[in-house]
């Protein structure tokens, strides 16, 4: 069966996230930096009456920073531990994707990610082909974990 997915872009690659997890998409208007948090955490921003931490996915994915552009969006997702904002280069498209079409990522991609040294450390959970495009589904539990110096 198909489910709607939001397609977003970070750098040259495209990714998908189930629309059911996306609460809203905002234009980027800054965040209050939180001293002591990880370098790829931009800070907290006020969204929908809630304080949402915003993650810079470019930085997290190891890409150099880009100039601010109007296209930049913050995709706010609801996770088990609350709302998190993901700053991406572009997020304009919603696609209906067949769940069965998701495949295991190729071995090299499987291990990609900052924690690649660990067993099963890859960030990409699955990939799906839509026409010529290859869209990746990211495991955000791995991407988002390991933030500030909470003891």
């Amino acid at each position: 069966m198909t489910a709607l997915h939001v397609v977003y872009r970070v750098g040259d690659a495209e990714y998908v996230i189930p629309a059911a997890e996306v609460v809203q998409m905002e234009t980027w208007s800054g965040a209050t930096p939180v001293p002591g948090s990880a370098p790829w955490v931009l800070g907290v921003a006020q969204m929908r009456g809630a304080l949402v931490p915003v993650v810079d996915l470019r930085a997290r994915f190891g890409l150099p920073p880009a100039d601010e552009a109007l296209d930049h969006r913050v995709v706010v997702v609801r996770r088990h531990d609350g709302l998190v904002g993901l700053k991406v280069d572009r997020a304009r498209e919603v696609l209906a994707v067949d769940e069965d079409a998701f495949e295991e990522p190729p071995a090299l991609v499987q291990r990609a990610g900052a924690d690649a040294g660990r067993v099963g450390g890859g960030w990409v959970r699955a990939v799906v082909r839509v026409g010529e495009r290859v869209l990746m589904d990211v495991d955000f539990d791995r991407v988002v974990e390991g933030g500030g110096f909470d003891e």
């Binding site: 002591g36 948090s37 800070g43 531990d81 609350g82």
Partner: protein
């Protein structure tokens, strides 16, 4: 039933059911105590019967059959006990508690929109197996001196209770309270009388009795209280504002008087009543209040600008002052709405202690003395796990086995006490103490591989170390085992309070949690630091000083704590926040906020002060942004979150780093 959508009733059902289940717990505890002492507790039985009856009704309204089945079978047994057809066996409470829990789980499933499991067969069998024992009431019937009408309106259990009073060393007494308009005007009514009498006696039943209207009975109504007491007649009569009392004992029956139909619901109607509110609605109110506060800032700024431009703003300023006062009032109303009585928060603990003591093979009694202390719901929610931890530790580790206790000359039943009182407008103190074996500093020091602590504060430091908490062994650590680091984290980091401890070997231990009454609204100082704005709670700052560069001394080296500034003849460490947060250079800051940490002053350097504000603080809950020294975020009027700094915590971590 097909075609009817129950989903909108569900949240109401869940809320009602949870309340009822909550109220059932103390009744179960009371019943347990009575049954173990070989007595009945007709009041607890009746309350439990009513509770289950109501739950059954509610569950059938929203068509949740498993809950209907469980509550129905339990209700049947309780009804029989209530009607005096026998006494419940001692094991009944365990079955009762299991059934309550089973219903609770199913209510939880409904709340989470999950399928509700059907009623477990073994539970239903256990309920069906509760055979009522023959009660001995028939022998005692004749020994009560009651008029026929009163006698008829009591249940057999209640009559038995009154008749067997002398066996407990108490008397069964009847005292009449006559309400009147005069008395009402003085605040004397059946409720206040219940309270007063309840302090010196156990109330078995209160019966409304109709009388012809006379000057002595102006309302045509009096309340007959049937009580068990060992207090003097005069004291009882005084409590009930009555002329005298009657001892209920065997003698000839009295002439009867017309009987009122017994109301289904024993509760006298009260004015006012209660409203149940979901916490999200309260949060929404807080948010709106926050927006109002923000608007007021903007208005004030505009008015200030007009004033500087020479405009006539006196009237506007007067209006703003009124508005400020009203916002203050609104704020206290909202805060009060969010508060819950501490006794409510703690009311499940007796049941917890019962289970834990049983499992540990010990006898432990829990006393809770919280009076009327109230605390913000957000604080209560975080406090409860800490208190549960401390209580469990007390039962599991601190209290000795009954044999050990007797060998030491202590009562075989251990005592855990929780007391709670408001230390000031802003602070709540909650103490958890036990009369157990105390904490052995040498054993703890050995475990931690550290020198023996010289006082309780150092011992507490060791006991709350995360590493230590994974080593648990009741006999060698002679005291606390698991999770003390969590308790400290809750008290200090999550709530911004303090944890202290006193312990005496062989006598017991007391933990004190000091927490703020409310997290939500704070008075703060706003300031800038390297072009970024922060706020700090006013209550945290003991002084604000101008930094005279000539009075600053720097120790050699580049460490963050290298500078000292002169203040009243003492040298105060001066830490530049800009440097600490890696926001700026190493210039000497112009101003410093002085805080006290463990009795010593610390200065945190900032650039500019922006004034004092009242803000609504929200916690930064997400792990990505939970960092040392930041206790939350507030809105100063520009729509952006402004971080609230916990300078005391920063100071503490700087000291730890320096020592580590």
């Amino acid at each position: 039933m097909p075609g009817i959508d129950f989903s909108e009733f569900r949240s109401g059902f869940v809320a009602e059911a949870q309340d009822l289940l909550h109220a059932a717990h103390p009744q179960a505890v009371a019943l347990d105590r009575a049954l173990r002492a070989g007595r009945d507790d007709p009041r607890a039985i009746r309350e439990l019967f009513r509770t289950l009856h109501t739950i059954k009704g509610l569950a059938s309204m929203v068509d949740v059959e498993p809950i209907v089945v469980i509550s129905h079978s339990l209700e049947t047994v309780l009804r029989q006990a209530d009607q005096g057809l026998g006494r419940l066996p001692v094991e009944a409470v365990d079955v009762l508690v299991a059934a309550l829990r089973s219903i609770e789980q199913r209510v939880g499933a409904i709340e989470r929109d999950e399928p509700v499991p059907k009623a477990p067969d073994d539970l239903l069998d256990a309920i069906a197996g509760l055979v009522l024992r023959e009660s001995t009431r028939s022998k005692t019937e004749g020994r009560l001196d009651l008029d026929d009408e009163t006698r008829a309106r009591l249940t057999p259990s209640e009559r038995e209770l009154l008749a067997t009073a002398p066996a407990d060393g108490r008397r069964a007494v009847a005292v009449d309270f006559v309400p009147s308009a005069d008395r009402s005007a003085q605040g004397i009514d059946i409720n206040s009388v219940r309270e007063r009498v309840g302090r010196i006696a156990e109330i078995v039943r209160v019966l409304p009795v109709a009388r012809p209207t006379t000057p002595e009975v102006p309302g045509g109504l009096l309340f007959r209280l049937l009580i068990l007491s060992d207090a003097a007649d005069a004291a009882i009569a005084e409590a009930a504002h009555a002329e005298g009392v009657r001892t209920v004992s065997a003698s000839a029956p009295r002439p009867s008087a017309p009987v009122l139909d017994e109301p289904d619901d024993e509760h006298e109607p009260h004015v006012g009543g209660l409203v149940r509110v979901e916490v999200e609605k309260l949060d929404a109110m807080m948010d709106t209040l926050s927006s109002l506060v923000v608007l007021r800032f903007r208005l004030e700024r505009e008015v200030e600008r007009m004033r500087r431009a020479g405009g006539e703003v006196r009237e506007l300023e007067a209006i703003l002052r009124d508005q400020r006062k009203q916002l203050r009032d609104l704020r206290s109303h909202i805060i009060r709405v969010r508060t819950v009585p501490v006794t409510d928060v703690l009311d499940r603990l007796p049941l917890l202690v019962r289970g834990a003591a049983r499992a540990a093979g010990k006898r432990v009694r829990l006393e809770v003395d919280a009076g009327r202390a109230e605390v913000d719901k957000a604080v209560a929610d975080r406090l409860l796990p800490a208190v549960v931890h401390l209580v469990r530790n007390a039962v599991d580790h601190a209290v000795e086995s009954p044999e050990e206790r007797e060998a030491q000359g202590k009562p075989s039943e251990g005592l855990v006490r929780i007391t709670c009182f408001e230390r000031s407008n802003h602070w709540l103190e909650l103490e958890v103490s036990d009369d157990g074996r105390g904490i052995d500093p040498e054993a703890v020091a050995r475990r931690a591989g550290e020198p023996v602590p010289t006082d309780d504060a150092e011992l507490l430091e060791l006991v709350t170390r995360p590493g230590l908490s994974t080593l648990q062994d009741a006999t060698t650590t002679s005291g606390r085992g698991l999770g003390m680091d969590i308790v400290r984290r809750i008290a200090v980091k999550q709530l911004g309070g303090e944890l202290r401890m006193r312990t005496t070997r062989g006598r017991g231990t007391t933990f004190t949690l000091s927490v703020p009454l409310s997290l939500a609204i704070l008075d703060v100082f706003a300031f800038t630091c390297a072009e970024q704005t922060f706020v700090v709670p006013v209550s945290m700052v003991s002084e604000i000083i101008e930094v005279d560069p000539d009075g600053v001394v720097a120790a050699p080296g580049a460490g963050i704590g290298r500078r000292l500034v002169q203040r009243r003849g003492a040298a105060v460490p001066l830490v530049s926040l800009a440097e600490l947060f890696e926001l700026g250079g190493d210039e000497i800051p112009q101003k410093a906020l002085v805080i006290q940490h463990e009795g010593r002053p610390w200065g945190f350097g900032v650039d500019r002060l922006l004034g004092q504000h009242e803000v609504v603080v929200r916690t930064l809950d997400h792990p990505l942004v939970r960092v040392e020294g930041v206790s939350g975020a507030a809105d100063l009027g520009d729509g952006r979150p402004t971080l609230v700094l916990d300078l005391v915590s920063l100071g503490r971590s700087l000291v730890t780093e320096a020592q580590g």
